[in-house]
Every structure is written in C-alpha cells, then in structure tokens.
Amino acid sequence: MANIIISKAEDGGLTFYMPKKDLEVKVISLEFEAADKWGGELKLASGQSYYIDPMAAPSLPKSLRARRLD
C-alpha cells in the first residue's frame, strides 16, 4: 500500500501523485466515478495501475491509500 494524492488536473482530468517517489502522472481512467461509488482500478499514463477501495466521491485533492496492481 502506498500513500498517494489524487487531484484535479488543469485540463479537467485527474492527476496521480505519489509523495514518496515524487511522481506525478496523469490518470487515464478510473473504474468508478459516481458520487456514491468512487475509486477502484486506476490506470496511469505511465502504464502502471493502482487500486483504491471504492468510497463516496471525496472532494479533491485527497490523500488516499492505494495498492499497486501489476
């Protein structure tokens, strides 16, 4: 599990940020984006994917715990 921050990007999409590695990447897709169910699999522009436990849509930016999938 890694600590990450998800925030809104300037172009309206989402950005994934991992403080530990100082890594900022665009989020390509997020599995669930509804108001009551948000999270799931997270695909990054760098090719990696992470998983965040689904939850009610948080206000962004938000610090979260994520699990690496690949």
Partner: protein, 489 residues
C-alpha cells in the same frame, strides 16, 4: 551555429555516449533525448542517482533545504548542524535579497554552524546543539525562531535533534525546527526541498501559539518559490499589487516565519518554482482548500499570460487590473524589445539550470528573438520535463543531470551563441570562447522577473553576447598566421 536536424542530433548523442563503458552508456542514454512536441509521455529518465565517476553538477539534500527553502526565511536563524564546510562554502552565494538589519533582526547572509569536531562525532553532538541554541538566544535575542539543518554526520551518528529542539523551543519560547535533510538522502537537492516542505507543514503550520497576524482579505495571495534572487520577488510583487491583489506573504525570498504561518489563510498560492514548493502547495490545497497556480514572470509574453491566468481566479476588478498593468508596461516593453532585439535576434542559447528556469526563461529569450536549442535540469523530475516539452522546439537537445563531459561536447558541436548555467560551468565555457551567463544567481545582476526585470535581462544578454572581448579570443600572433593561411587558400 550549426542548425542540427533530428538525425544529426541523434548522431551527436550517440557520439558523445561512445566514450562511456557499456553499462554507463546504457544508463546515460536514457537521460539524453531530442525534444518531440508530438510525443506526450515518454521523455527522458530523471531524478535518478548520478553515475559514479562522472562530473555531476547537482547538490545535496542539505543544499536543497538550507540553501533553497529555509535559508531565505530572514528572521530565523538556520543552523548548519555538523562540520563547518557545508554552510561556509555555500554562504550568501544565492543572492536572495532581503530588507532588515543583518545580525540584529535578519540573518540571511550569516552562517551559523555547530562546527563539529572529532569528539562530537565520537560522543554525539546533542549537548553542543543545546548549548549553541542558548547562545543564539543570548546573542541574537530578536530572532523569531531557529531551524536545525542536519548535515551528513548527524544522520550517521544518530543524534536526536528532535528532542533537543523540543526542549530548547520550550525554554526560549520560540520555534526550534529540526530538519532531517542530511546530504546523503536522495539523489539531489530535490529531496531536500521535499523534506524542508514537510518540516514547514509539521512545525510551522501546526505550531501552537502561532501569531494571529493579519486580517484575511478577499484578494490575499502568497508568493511561493520566488527566491528573490537579485530582487526578483520584489519586481514581481509590485505587479501583483498593482493589479489589486494583496501579497500577504513572500516565502523563501525576503520572507518571515509570520508570513509562512499566515499562508493557510490566503485565497490563492502563486507558485513560481514548481519543483521546490509544489509539496507544500499540494498540502495546503488538500488541508485548507487553497488552490495554487504556476506562473512565469520571465519576459513580457509570459508575464502577460501569467497575470491573466492569476486574475482568472478572482473577480472582474482583478481581471481589469491585470489588463491595466499589461497595458501600462506595453510601451516600455516595446522600447526594450526595439532596442535589443536587433542586436540579439537569431542567436542560439543552451541552458542547464535548476528547478524552473530551464523552461521558464525560454519565453524571455523568444521575446528577444533568440532561440533555445538545448535545455536540461539538474534535479528535475518527470513532471518538469513534461512541462518543458511544449515550450521547446522540435529537434532540440534535452539533457538530464548532464555530466561535465557531455555538456562540453554538446557545446562544441551545437555551437550556441550563449550558454546559461551555473558558476561551476562558467569559466570552462568562457575559456572555450563562448559567452556565458550565470543563470542561478543572475551573474551578480537582476532582478529578471517581471517587466522591470525583463529590461535588465535584455540588457545583460546584450552586454554578454555583444561584448567585444569575444572577438579577441585568438591571440594576435595566431590571428595573423590564420589570416595568412586564409590568404593563401
């Protein structure tokens, strides 16, 4: 200068890499590339450990924390905890200006150190630190706090600076902030920025008894990551104030701890150096809901763009203010460009600098009709390079953590008219006969930010590039031989 095509640039990179042993070649190849605006993701590899054996231009985590983020907080005393050299050799070199009386209520250019000796390494330096802290309190009673900046040995011998800081802080009733920025952490000064940002988050924002200073207003902004080199933050601040904003805090450039404590109450954080201050901006965004915006105050085109971008976060009165400011300086800028552009047009520049300038100054050069043909960061990360791609032309060189050898070879082949880099590179290139500007501390000049800064920037570039000394690089006796040869040929 030779205008290299994409293939030629590729060949040049290959040629330069040739001298390395197999493994090193493979590693360095990932750090060098050719800019391609079309490709959006895969860029150079960055933020990796430098190769052993090459000349890197990077600094250490201590440099990032003490030198960059904490050092310019003028009313605090920053103790270089450990041996004397780290602090002394970097003392006052960055030229971050401040107002105040040095040694009385401001301490920016002074060097405080615990001056570790052998016995401190053997028996630990905690006692020395606490003695030093009480001495500081007696000698400089007007200081507003102390930060303890760890140098390498502190982490190695396992001193508990946190405990000492806490005890001393209670004793003197002022913040004493331990910063674990030992030089061996991370691959460059970049991690030092991060550690310093985290220390601000943990010890400045959360501090009990932090002063309630200013009544928050609707147009409050904070300037982050403008280090006031040669007065940069001042020439930026006047523009922001002119357009109607209230700058309540300037961080690491003529900044104070009270200004930092007040920042969680502002409406917008203005981030000039993204690399070194993005961490704390993200934190404030999440915790206090303060948006942040990156801006660029180099050259009139980018200044205007940035002023409009900043204004878009506020109401119409600020937007009008931005237009007013842009219009007001238009004639002055036209005059500057009319004067210097003819003298500089078409000249090629190669850059190799730190956190933001490899991309930020490109606009200023373009305003003068100059072209940036190569750029690179000492300690940039992936996100910096992504931001750079769109500012650079196609087929230009990108080099990350360039080595001394590579940089020289690139310059020999690309033949730029001007190089902008640090003081360690300066004399090498000047001796090679290439005009050079020191782009870390503006070569004892500045400010370069804002409209006033651009006028100085243009003058400095002209002064360097068109200096008659560059015509006298060949000694007279060799010059006549050359002429004769040409005459024969």
């Amino acid at each position: 200068m030779a205008n290299l095509s994409k293939e030629e640039t590729q060949a040049l990179i290959q040629e330069v890499l040739e001298v390395y042993p197999e493994k090193a070649k493979e590693d360095r190849a990932k750090h060098l590339s050719i800019n391609d605006q079309a490709a959006d993701t895969k860029c150079v590899t960055s933020n990796r450990k430098s190769l052993p054996g090459v000349m890197t231009i990077r600094g250490c985590a201590y440099a990032g924390s003490k030198g960059v983020v904490w050092g310019p907080i003028k009313d605090m005393i920053h103790i270089s905890h450990g041996p004397v050299g780290c602090g002394q050799y970097s003392r006052a070199g960055r030229r971050n200006y401040y107002v105040g009386t040095t040694g009385v209520n401001s301490f920016g250019t002074m060097n405080f150190t615990s001056d570790f000796q052998e016995k401190d390494i053997v028996f630990g330096g905690d006692k020395k630190l606490s003695k030093l802290l009480s001495e500081v309190e007696t000698l400089f009673p007007l200081h507003r706090g102390v930060s303890v900046q760890s140098e390498c040995p502190i982490g190695l011998i396992g001193d508990d600076i946190e405990a000492v800081s806490k005890a001393s802080s209670q004793e003197m009733g002022k913040p004493v902030i331990p910063v674990r920025c030992e030089g061996f952490r991370g691959v460059s000064q970049s991690l030092g920025h991060h550690i310093a940002n985290d220390a601000i988050r943990d010890h400045v924002f959360e501090r009990e008894g932090a002063a309630e200073t200013v009544e928050p207003g609707p147009y409050d902004v904070a300037i982050l990551g403008d280090y006031n080199i040669g007065g940069d933050a001042w020439s930026s601040r006047i523009l922001l104030e002119e357009m109607g904003l209230r700058v309540v805090s300037q961080w690491s450039g003529d900044g104070t701890i009270a200004e930092m404590e007040h920042t969680p109450k502002v409406k917008l954080n203005l981030l000039h150096c993204y690399r070194s201050m993005n961490y704390i901006s993200r934190h404030m965004e999440e915790k206090y809901g303060i948006p942040w915006v990156e801006y660029n105050f180099f050259g009139p085109t980018k200044v205007a763009e940035s002023l409009r971008k900043i204004a878009s976060y506020f109401d119409d009165s600020i937007k009008e203010g931005a237009e007013r400011v842009i219009a007001k300086y238009q004639t002055m800028m036209d005059e500057v460009i009319a004067k210097y552009k003819p003298r500089l047009e078409g000249k090629k520049v190669m850059l190799y600098v730190g956190g933001l300038r490899p991309r930020h100054v490109i606009g200023a050069y373009e305003d003068l009709g100059m072209e940036v043909v190569g750029t690179g960061y000492e300690f940039g990360h992936n996100d910096d390079y992504e931001r750079t791609t769109k500012d650079m032309g196609n087929a230009t060189l990108i080099y990350d953590d360039v080595t001394g050898f590579e940089f020289e070879e690139f310059v020999k082949r690309v033949k730029p008219d001007l190089i902008g880099s640090g003081v360690k590179e300066k004399y090498i290139f000047q001796k090679m006969g290439v005009p050079f500007r020191q782009m870390h501390s503006w070569d004892y000049s500045g400010p370069y930010h804002g409209y006033d800064g651009f006028a100085i920037f243009a003058k400095d570039m002209d002064m360097t590039l068109n200096n008659p000394c560059w015509k006298n690089m060949t000694p007279p006796w060799k010059a006549s031989a050359e002429e004769e040869q040409q005459a024969v040929a």
